[in-house]
Symmetry: C2
Subunit: 317 residues, 2 copies
């Protein structure tokens, strides 16, 4: 059984080989650029871990692991256009470095390259297609939410489930399917991935508002300053309404540069939203571990995935 | 054996059913809109014809035929963004009717929906992936050509082969593969599709410059006015250089609105470029028919595809 870091090193090696094999043209250069930015590789490692969990060989699902990472980076390339984001992991986004048309087209070709990695197994294809469509639906809801002020926590949860958690679930299910897991086990590992994914995303939101700026590597409160509708802000507005408090609405009425972000963070603390979010993270993590528990394989095989959960929960950036 | 029109009616019925099944949301509405615009459906009909040619049932490759048409419309949705085109078949393009972000995302989901149609057969998937990547490469070359003034006829031919002819070749090969055709026959039918595709595209260029405006349904010479690097213009510039004539360069130096398009058309005629292009169309058509000839199936099965060739050659719009 490989550890997280061992899987990660194997994934990096496969990615390096893939990058070296790409034709050196303007269609492929943006893909290679994005794939070479420093990244945690959580999703491809999840494919390999799920594969080993069900008795597969360490590298037995490496092609699909690469495919999942390609798909993730394809979504980044196109999402960054839609969000007009200038930076990704501290480096220029593809549309900023090249141009929008190149980012559209290179992204399209990257989705085709994703499918080249997935084509060997019809069961993998069916799983992946369904999840890929879910990710598109999540992004569509995310864009629609930006135009609206009445998003409830339930709608937000569904959006974030589709946009981010579903891909981690898909990654684990693909690894399981390649190891000939039963349909029931594929469902169970999907629950593991989905709840870890939800915990992971919510942890991101928490770190943005309450993280240590030195460790997070950026100013805290960036989402709050931008008025981004995260779990924290949506729940904060709900609780404010219940308790008749106006601070968050006052701050949101200002332009981003004028917002008193420390005041917003203080209010979220006072409303108990931070504690609630931390409880929600712990709940998702526990649900994921319980789903893992229910899978009937030798316990020692479960260790790397428990390690993954601990890593995701302990991270400070 | 079905005629072109019979296949076309069957394709239209399948598309109508597909449109009715799509969820009524902003991710899918643009796909349905584009799929419902009036269209010739040459590519999906080509799938079905190739399938019947090799002994397949009339509707035996209908899912893949739908997939090919979805893919074609996906490329239209994204190409129209890149070209900033306001109209498609006389109707607003998706990014004009909705917005650019919706067109990017709905296009992405349309590519996923394409793969849902292709997933049943690993051989189909391998074929399709290779061709889909070729189409992206063709579009990339097309965009690069717009920035350059030194495109030769060979580079243009390769671009147009990738961007348009390859998809007709792919359509026919997918139909053949679904009918269990041999590898040699799959290669042969690919030649039929590729040369018909090249003839089809060059015929388009010819109609734009020399067609009957009443039948073409738009002002002739639109490509020339825009200075678009078609086969005709590239060859016209080559012949002008050989013969020391300056009219085309003079007109291209003007702004589009000031160009004397009738003069450009007259010069292309005088240089013999029109006649050359017509000879090239006839050559591609003959090459396609010869490749069809070499396929060992009962001759009566070849009739619909010969009819397709005749239809493409005779068309006036």
């Amino acid at each position: 059984m490989r550890s997280f870091e061992e899987h990660r090193a194997a994934v990096e090696a496969r990615i390096a080989r893939w990058c070296a094999e790409m034709p050196p043209n303007e269609l492929h250069a943006p893909m290679v650029y994005l794939m070479q930015l420093p990244a945690k590789r959580v999703r491809p490692v999840a494919v390999l871990m799920a594969h080993e969990l069900f008795g597969g060989a360490s590298d037995g699902a490496m092609e699909e692991a690469l495919g999942i990472e390609l798909f993730h980076n394809f979504t980044l390339m196109h999402d960054d256009i839609m969000d007009e984001a200038p930076l990704r992991r501290g480096r220029p986004t593809v549309h900023a470095k090249w141009n929008v048309n190149t980012a559209i087209l290179s992204g399209d070709a990257m989705l085709v390259r994703t499918y080249m990695q997935m084509a060997a197994d019809a069961r993998v294809m069916a799983l992946f297609n369904e999840h890929a469509l879910g990710v598109c639906e999540g992004q569509q809801q995310d864009m629609a939410f930006e135009q609206r002020d009445d998003i409830g926590l339930e709608a937000y949860r569904e959006m974030i489930r589709l946009k981010t958690a579903v891909l981690l679930a898909c990654a684990m299910q693909v690894g399981a399917v390649r190891a000939q897991a039963t349909e029931d086990d594929v469902q169970r590992i999907g629950q593991v991935g989905e709840h870890l994914g939800l915990a992971f995303q919510l942890r991101d939101d928490l770190l943005d508002a309450f993280g240590d700026p030195d460790k997070v590597g950026k100013q805290v409160g960036g989402d709050l300053r931008a008025g981004k509708k995260t779990w924290l802000l949506i729940r904060g507005l709900e609780r404010s309404r219940e308790q008749g408090r106006a601070e968050l609405l006052e701050e949101l009425a200002k332009s981003p540069a004028d917002r008193d972000v420390p005041r917003m963070i203080r209010v979220l603390n006072e409303l108990g939203v931070r504690a609630e979010a931390e409880a929600e993270v712990a709940m998702h993590d526990a649900t994921a571990l319980a789903a893992l528990e229910a899978i009937q394989v030798p316990v020692e095989r479960k260790r790397p995935m428990q390690e993954l959960s601990a890593l995701l929960m302990a991270r400070t950036h």
